[in-house]
Symmetry: C2
DNA sequence: GAGTGGTCTAGACCACTAT
DNA sequence: TAGTGGTCTAGACCACTCC
C-alpha cells in the first residue's frame, strides 16, 4: 500500500504534531513548565509541588487539566504523589543503574558491588547501605517448598512437577519500594536452606561450597509495560507508571539451571547497561 | 459509593488495592473486562472496539471514565487509537524481539537475522520482509556531515569538534512506526559514504573491506520513560505511552568507536534479551 | 453530516493526611 | 477540621475520518 516513494524525506502524515508554533495543549504547557522547573532545580528534590487545585488556579485551568499534567510527570517518575499529602519531586539519585545484573554507583570512586544481586539480601542491600540509605528486604511470603507450576517447571527445566524453593520479596530503600522479586530454585540443591542460616553469605557462594556448582551464566528477558493494579499497590506507583518486567534465568557451569526469577521494578527507577560482542564476522 | 464498611482487612498500607473483593474502580473494571476479551481473542487482532461513547453507555459510566480505561489499555500497547476512526486491537505479533541487537523471529524455524541492525537498511528491513510485512526506512534528515556537538564528541571519543556523518531516520512496518534512530559516525571512516552507493551491503562489512576495521563490541544503555510530545508524534503513540530509550556505542576490534546511536522505540513493541557471564568467582 | 478520539470545564464525593 | 490526591460526572468544542 503506497510504499513507492519511500526515498527522500517523506511527505506529510507525521508533522501534524510539532507543526503549529508551540501550539501545545494547556496540560502540555504545564508539563513543560513544571518539568523544566524541576530539571533546573528551582523545585528541589523532595520539595512539595503546588496542589492540584493551586496549580489549576495558577494556570487558569480546571483541576482535571492540572491533574492530567501532573499525571504525565508522575508516569515519568519525575514526581511522586501521596494521597492526602501532595506531589513531591523525586530525586534523580534514586534511579538505580544496573549493568549485567550488577548495581553501579553514581560516583565512580566507589567500587562497584559485584554480582551479588544473585545473593541473599544481595547487592541491593549493600548498594543502598553504601549510599547511606536504609534498605529493607521484605518477604511477602515465607520462603517455602512449593509444587512447581507449569511455568516454573519449564524454566527450571525440571523433568516432572517437583518441589521448588520459592522466595517472594519486595526490596525497599528508605521505605520506598524498588522492586518485586519472585524467584525459584531446585529443591534438591536449595531445599536445606529453609533450615540453614546463611547470614550474609552469598547464595551462590554457598551453593559452590556445598554442592560444587558455580553460577556461571545469566539470561534476561526484559520488557517495559504499565504496572497492573497489584504492582502499583506494592511498588507504590500511579496508574500509567511503567515497570520493567525481567525474567532472569541463571545457570551453573554445568549448564544446569539453578534459578529462575521474575523481577518487577519501577521503570522510573532503573537504568540498564549491557555489553556484548558482535560475532557475525566469523 | 457506600465505602464505609470495607473495614475488613485494613491495616498496613499495602493491601488497600487488592483487598476488597473486586472492589475496583469503575474504570479498572472496564480495563479488566475489555483487556480479558482481547487476551482471550474474543476481540480479534485489528478489530475495532466500541467507541468511547458506546463503552460509556454499556458500562453505565461517563465518557471520561470509559476513556480513562481505554487510555490504560492504550499505554500498554494492547490497543491503538486513531482520531476520527476509533480504537483497534493491536496484534501480539507486532512486538519485536531483540537479542543482543539481533531481531528474533517468533517462529524458531526461521533463521535469525544477524546483527544487521548495524547496517544500512539493516536487519529491521530484512526482518519485516521475511514476516511478510512492508518495511520502510524514512530519513527524517538527509544524511550529511555535521559538526559534532559536545555529546557526540564525547561518545565518539573525538579529540576536537570534528565533522561526523549523521543519519536520522524512522523505521516503519506497514506504515506503523517502530523506532527513531539518530546515529553518528566518524567522518574520516564514513564520510565517503555520502557519495558511495552501498545498496544492501552491510555498513560495517563495507567498513571492514574498505578500512580493515571490524565492528566487534557493543555497549547499550537502556531506560524506559514516557514519550515526549515529539516522539509521540513521530512514533504515533498516545500520551502516557512509554519508549525504550537506548544509547548504543559500537567499537571496532582496535577499540576505536565507530558508531554512536540514540534509539527511541515504542516500549509496547519491544522485547529485549541479554545474556552474560557471571565472573565474581575468579 | 454523522461519528470519532482529543481536550477541557466546573462541579462532586471519597479516603486519607496533617494538625 | 481543613486540605490533599483519587475518582467520577455530564456536559462542551475541536479536528479529523468516513461516507
Amino acid at each position: 500500500m503506497m510504499s513507492d516513494d519511500q526515498l527522500e524525506n517523506r511527505e506529510v502524515d507525521y508533522d501534524q504534531f510539532e507543526s503549529g508554533d508551540g501550539e501545545l495543549g494547556k496540560a502540555e504547557r504545564i508539563v513543560e513548565e513544571v518539568g523544566n522547573e524541576i530539571r533546573e532545580g528551582k523545585l528541589k528534590e523532595g520539595g512539595r509541588l503546588p496542589s492540584e487545585r493551586e496549580l489549576a488556579e495558577m494556570f487558569r485551568v480546571s483541576r482535571m487539566t492540572a491533574r492530567n499534567a501532573l499525571q504525565t510527570l508522575l508516569s515519568g517518575g519525575l514526581i511522586a504523589s501521596y494521597p492526602g499529602r501532595g506531589y513531591f519531586v523525586v530525586g534523580d539519585h534514586e534511579r538505580l543503574q544496573e549493568r549485567h545484573g550488577e548495581l553501579l554507583y553514581p560516583d565512580s570512586d566507589m567500587p562497584p558491588v559485584k554480582a551479588e544481586e544473585l545473593i541473599k539480601a544481595g547487592s541491593f542491600y549493600e548498594y543502598m547501605m553504601r549510599l547511606g540509605r536504609n534498605p529493607e528486604d521484605v518477604f511477602l511470603e515465607t520462603p517455602a517448598l512449593v509444587a512447581a507450576n507449569e511455568e516454573v517447571t519449564e524454566h527450571l527445566e525440571l523433568s516432572t512437577r517437583e518441589l521448588v524453593l520459592k522466595r517472594y520479596r519486595l526490596q525497599l530503600a528508605d521505605k520506598k519500594p524498588y522492586r518485586l522479586i519472585e524467584s525459584y530454585y531446585p529443591s534438591d540443591l536449595f531445599g536445606e536452606l529453609l533450615t540453614t542460616k546463611l547470614d550474609k553469605k552469598p547464595l551462590f557462594l554457598w551453593l559452590q561450597e556445598r554442592h560444587g556448582l558455580t553460577a556461571a551464566h545469566v539470561n534476561e528477558i526484559l520488557i517495559a509495560r504499565p504496572a497492573n493494579i497489584y504492582e502499583r499497590g506494592q511498588l507504590r506507583i500511579s496508574p500509567g507508571a511503567h515497570v520493567m518486567a525481567i525474567e532472569r534465568t541463571v545457570s551453573a557451569h554445568t549448564g544446569r539451571i539453578i534459578e529462575w526469577a521474575r523481577i518487577t521494578a519501577s521503570a522510573a527507577l532503573y537504568t540498564f547497561m549491557y555489553e556484548y560482542d558482535i560475532n557475525i564476522w566469523k
